[in-house]
Assembly symmetry: C2
């Protein structure tokens, strides 16, 4: 029996649940090791059931061996899930309220006919996922390594006249030749004023000389993600860009120094934000300082002013301060960091900034 | 004022809704033209409101001009949405039950304090999206053209010894050099026995001689998607593969001939399925015959045995029969078709099969 599911039974029992319906792919992958898509997993001490259809059933069967019985959906998956809960007398069944669509919740609940209840929970599995084991850290390191190599490679490729989308094209190609299964999200290549949009959609714009080019990218290695940002400057860097780039790097360096087990996530965010305030740029930094990375590219914990999370060894987080001045320019520097017993380890230190 | 939103007001009024909360990105794009991410749109005759945060606010502002007031989220987006409903006296507010997570539905409902109600609806916008206007058809044709060129290009690239993932790498690169903004979904490259998994995850497996290679891919052009599948045979084709490939092509040809306005989607599916039954292969064809394609790669209508939809001019659908024999091989042929006034037009006819 899979040890993660076994451990999870105790969490469910402590909260008085008889089982849990899991639909978020990364959560199913975490519990089973199988890269699930469009499917549902019902876990309980009385049995684990995987609900899928003909697109995945043959593929899933050997992968889920010993973990879950596979039920092929022919009619409605929702009545099949409900019937399975009733058959096995699961009366209080947890579900993932942040992901399960309202209509699915309603359909399953209706089929349960008040003989059992589907109960919305928050982050039950995500909380466990925050602390990575050595095998997971190994995969994340590989995902970081591929993205880091891609950034080093692309630095030599970028020249005035090349389009943002062509830079993306080369990165998408490169990572797959260097061990990645996929990109971990849509790559952002932002040049010139486009850098001022934190989540710019990579466009047909041609990169010009004396401009910054911001690249935010990551690789997916066996389900585990990386997420890195660098800004390259072509030709001359104007004074404003030099100034804000130095400030962002210093804000990141100060935040990094405070990372250790026991540190509050909100405090790490505050260190960077306070430095930007001191320099007069805090109003140009709208997003959080960072987030966890693992089977999802954005996951717990969040380095945000409102977070009440505390860092622990085995957490993997981004540290990514930025300054975005609309119509002018923007910079962001993003590294990935492992929280260690004694402090922290920057996983993406090999890429110059 | 945007004419799609205007038209949508009448639909809402007919159903006695005062407004609708839209969160599904493709639906927001359809109504506003803006490629929304992680944001919410509240539409009503009393005003249209777009809820976003600092990652998108500067980018969205000019794009949403004349369409929506932009409200930047600082606190909770859910209480801000609820407060806006209350401020404008929107009492019956439709939402997208199939997408809106249960926890978000619950949070907004709680903030409405029974002074207004969030009501789950199904496919209100998706139904309108089924019929494409000439501008949309133009964009879909461009998305098909890019994917078709990519398939023609890759046929010359594939050789024994090349890995599935390297084929994907080249396709991801090619489409971005030829006008695509993105892939429309994770490209499937399945070789040998992997072809038997309809949704195989592209792997490090090396392609061998005398094997089929199945490629299922699409391009995203200005938000509009394409979705095509071809099987290439390297070296000699064994008799079984020859037989099932011919059957799949014939099943597709028969289905295509029946496409016209007024035809039932279920009947088109049945024509292909009946032919596979006649040949003894129906049990190896588990999925639907096809689906609509537009701002989402899978959308209404569905060519499935259970569909009650009727084809209309302006619909764009895939026709994709397949035969998958576990442990042996699989083939699928997928084209995109526009339903015209008189019948149909195959949009992807330029790629040999």
């Amino acid at each position: 029996m899979n040890s993660r599911i076994k451990k999870f039974y105790s969490i469910l029992e402590r909260l008085n649940f008889d089982g849990m319906l899991v639909s978020w792919p990364a959560n199913i992958t975490y519990l089973t090791g199988y890269r699930s898509r469009d499917s549902y997993l019902l876990v309980s001490r009385k049995g684990n059931f995987y609900f899928t259809d003909s697109r995945y059933s043959e593929e899933a069967k050997p992968e889920l061996k010993g973990v879950a019985s596979l039920l092929k959906i022919n009619g409605s998956v929702f009545s099949l899930i409900a019937q399975t809960c009733l058959d096995f007398k699961l009366k209080a069944v947890a579900c993932e309220g942040r992901y399960l669509p309202y209509a699915e919740y309603k359909k399953i609940s209706d089929c349960l006919k008040k003989k059992a209840k589907l109960i919305s929970t928050h982050s039950l599995i995500e909380q466990a996922r925050q602390i990575k084991d050595p095998q997971e850290i190994g995969k994340i390191k590989k995902a970081v390594e591929v993205a880091a190599s891609a950034l080093k490679f692309i630095r030599g490729f970028i020249k005035p006249g090349i389009k943002e989308i062509e830079v993306e094209a080369e990165l998408e190609r490169f990572i797959r030749y260097h061990g990645a299964d996929n990109s971990s999200f849509d790559i952002i290549v932002a040049s010139g004023q486009n850098c001022a949009y934190p989540h710019h959609i990579t466009s047909e714009r041609k990169i010009r000389n004396n401009e910054p080019v911001l690249i935010d990218m990551g690789a997916d290695y066996q389900g585990y993600k990386s997420d890195l940002t660098r800004v390259f400057f072509l030709g001359k860097i104007n004074l404003l860009a030099q100034e804000i780039y130095a400030i962002v790097k210093e804000a990141q360096a100060r935040a990094l120094k405070n990372i250790r087990p026991g540190a509050k996530a909100a405090d790490i965010d505050r260190v960077a934000r306070d430095f930007l305030t001191e320099k007069g740029y805090a109003r140009f930094f709208g997003h959080n300082l960072g987030h966890g990375v693992g089977l999802d590219v954005h996951e717990e914990p969040h380095l945000s002013p409102k977070s009440n999370q505390v860092l622990e060894p085995g957490m993997v987080i981004t540290v990514e301060p930025g300054i975005y001045i609309a119509g002018k320019l923007g910079v962001r520097v993003e590294d990935m960091v492992l929280v260690t017993e004694k402090g922290y380890e920057v996983l993406s230190g090999s890429v110059n900034k």
